[in-house]
Amino acid sequence: MFRKILIANRGEIAVRIIRTCRDMGIKTVAVYSTADRDALHVKYADEQCCIGPPPPAESYLKHANIITVAQLTNADAIHPGVGFLSEDSQFAEICEAHRITFIGPSIDNLVRMGDKAEARETMSKLGLKLVPGSRSTRQGRLKRGRKRGVVETEEEAVEIAERIGYPVGIKASAGGGGRGIRIANNQMSLLNLFHTAKSEAESAFGNADVYIEKWIENARHIEVQILADKHDNVVHLGERECSIQRKQQKLLEEAPSPSIGGKLRAEICKAAIKAAKSISYSNVGTIEFVVDSDDNFYFLEMNTRLQVEHTVTEMTTGIDLVREQIRVAAGEQLGYNHSDIRIDGHAIECRINAEDAQNGFMPSPGEITSYLPPGGIGIRTDSHLYTGHTVPPYYDSLIAKLIAHGRSREEAIIRMKRALEELTIGGVKTTTSLHQEILRDERFLAGRVDTGFLDDGV
């Protein structure tokens, strides 16, 4: 087992990883930018080193500085957390070259699933459905010199739309995070929107490339937590419901999903295991699916890292995922199989962001003038806040995750409501009230959630 792990991250996830390292008796090294000198992860770690100025590219993403600190502190492994370097295969290679374990999947896993087109190709060959559209075209059909899935002419657009059926989404290739999408319900609107979409893409992203995909209405975003060791043992720890999103950003997640039935659950989890096995995956990973209103499920992508929302799976399984991640990265065997895993009760996570929900979700950095997390039965808080901490403007706005666990979904919901009421954060605006609205929404209470949940207004 590792003696010392460098955590190449910040915020609540760095604190969360340090907690498990502490539980495992492993020393920790925190790295930080000058904006994070007084951050909790810096206080909680055994050693700490400043690695650069606030911009991530010059600190948390700076390979050389992080590797240097790992070497100087004799860390034998690096945990990349979520975001930042967590899916950076080049960084994983540098770690390997320096004989430092990258706590994550193999470089091959990172490369293959990191190339989203190749990932789709791989999963399609395996028999997993992809969202139909120009990008789901097989490699063999690509013309020379053409970028995968890019639709260049009106004729192509109409042909694809006819094949997959309306409505279709025209999406900017360089877009992402939900930006640059136009929806066409019939051929006329497609012809109208095609050039608009291209010129919008050009002006917004400097790249006019667009692709066309079946627009799945009332989609549900379901993901499966995979855990695999280096000895070909793969288990899933059940699925998570992540449909409640704002601009493609997850806000509230739960496990198990209230929106799918037992049969679909079994199929999706089976597909996820098959996918992970097909690429000899190791470490924790998540396979994301969209599910349409007819319960067809489509492979979206694989995240080859820990997810922010891993906590709900921890609450329902009792398994510390960061511990398992570290164990398998160190070469240990899982030591259990599906029959040893029990999904117990229901868990919900609310992401509390420093954002002004009343004002277009503008980031709201600043000094935390008061902080009191909720407590009591069934409540877990993962946060890096403390009274007097200053939330810097340079990073992700996630400042706390509240996790409620109960024997039933109903119990988890009432406990989460209580936790949101108790939560005290002064000095910055937060998304707390938005969560309170979601938890009062009748559709939510009935488990009727989809990715359009917030579009319709809470």
């Binding site: 000058t34 000198r37 007084d38 080193c49 400043c50 690695i51 650069g52 100025p53 600190s59 050389a64 500085n65 590797i67 240097t68 600190v69 070497q71 100087l72 320096h98 000094e367 003038t369 007097g388 200053t390």
Partner: protein
Amino acid sequence: MSEDKSISLELLNEVCDVMDDRQLTEVYLRDGEVTLRVRRESQTASAPSGAPQPAPSPSASTPVQSDHVEGEFINAPMPGVFYRSAAPDEPFFVNEGDIVSAEDTICLIEAMKIFNPIQPGFSCQIVEVVVENETVVEYDQPLFRIKRT
């Protein structure tokens, strides 16, 4: 915590003004994260005159966590090991009192087996070498106290 120390400094100056005006000998002020204690031996020093201010005028390279050392610093541009010479038996690049030009190498920082030469970027005098030879430095850690020439 106040990110900008100049706010505190401004506050200090303003408090001194008040002490002058009011002929005070001591002020202890605590407001949230800011704590300030100012003392003067007697109020005779009040002197609302145009006495020259010490003018700390810190440059951008002054480290935020300055241990109350006055002056201007050259800080580490990366984490690594600080070397004052090219090899153990070679002389130091610079010594205290030396005057160096913008392009002179004043130390090396070793990171990932690479020895990165560090230059001041402007001509200056080395007032003090703040860090021990061959020790680990963080990003932004003060290495040399200098005076611009």
